[in-house]
Symmetry: C2
Subunit: 146 residues, 2 copies
């Protein structure tokens, strides 16, 4: 399989959430760094480390196939030369479900590393957030350190 | 109040957890960046942004005074020139409580930024982890990108 190259951390994040919505395991794993420490915390789950644990966890999550739409919102991005940190809300909506049946949003901290093969994810930490995520929706522009 | 200078991200992290254990609000806020976007997610809580929300949340948490001992374990550190990301487990133990009465561990992703005033925290994302945090305890050496 040809490795995908992500020129920016945002490209990697877009691919991550596309793969998550589609339950696309290969697309998902193409986003993660291959030769680095990687860490993944699913909502309420243990801290997973390494390609094997992370792949196995997504395989389990994706085993039922795509059932929910996903909207990512309120991104805050902090970008360095080698590392980028994005904080987002993941808003899932189950098809057929009405307003109140939507699961609570998930708050996620995503860390990307600039590798020889482009930007890759190295940390995904997701946890349930209260239904009211805060005062006003926030769409801060990306912040660049360099 | 004289600002504290943290020469490394690890120094900032040490001060963060000292302040957390002691319920020291000024010590806590001295760790956070002042002129940057900051984000804080307490276990099960909303995403807080900015000095005011973050200070207010710690003031509430600290209002009862120190009651628990804190041990930080299984750190994985990823360090760049400007950003550093640490993943740790926070293990609290209530004084007087026996083994089984210990709260579940907290998994935390901490992000530090090298500012003109030394390393400061910009992101703290904490969430409850299962009581068995994984296979073997891991003490990876810090990983430096430069």
């Amino acid at each position: 399989m040809t490795a995908r190259i992500f020129p920016t951390a945002q490209d990697a994040e877009n691919a991550f959430y596309e793969a998550l919505e589609r339950c696309d395991l290969e697309g998902m794993m193409a986003v993660w760094a291959e030769d680095e420490d990687i860490l993944c915390v699913h909502p309420g789950g243990p801290r997973l480390t390494g390609q094997d644990q992370v792949r196995e966890s997504w395989a389990g999550i994706f085993s039922g196939g795509p059932r929910a739409r996903l909207q990512v919102s309120q991104q805050v991005a902090i970008s360095g030369m080698m590392l980028a940190v994005h904080s987002v809300f993941e808003n899932f909506s189950i098809e057929g479900a009405q307003g109140d049946a939507r699961p609570a949003p998930i708050v996620a901290t995503n860390v990307y590393l600039r590798t020889a093969a482009g930007w890759r994810m190295i940390v995904h930490h997701a946890s349930p957030a209260p239904a009211q995520p805060g005062p006003a929706p926030r769409q801060a522009p990306p912040k660049f350190l360099h």
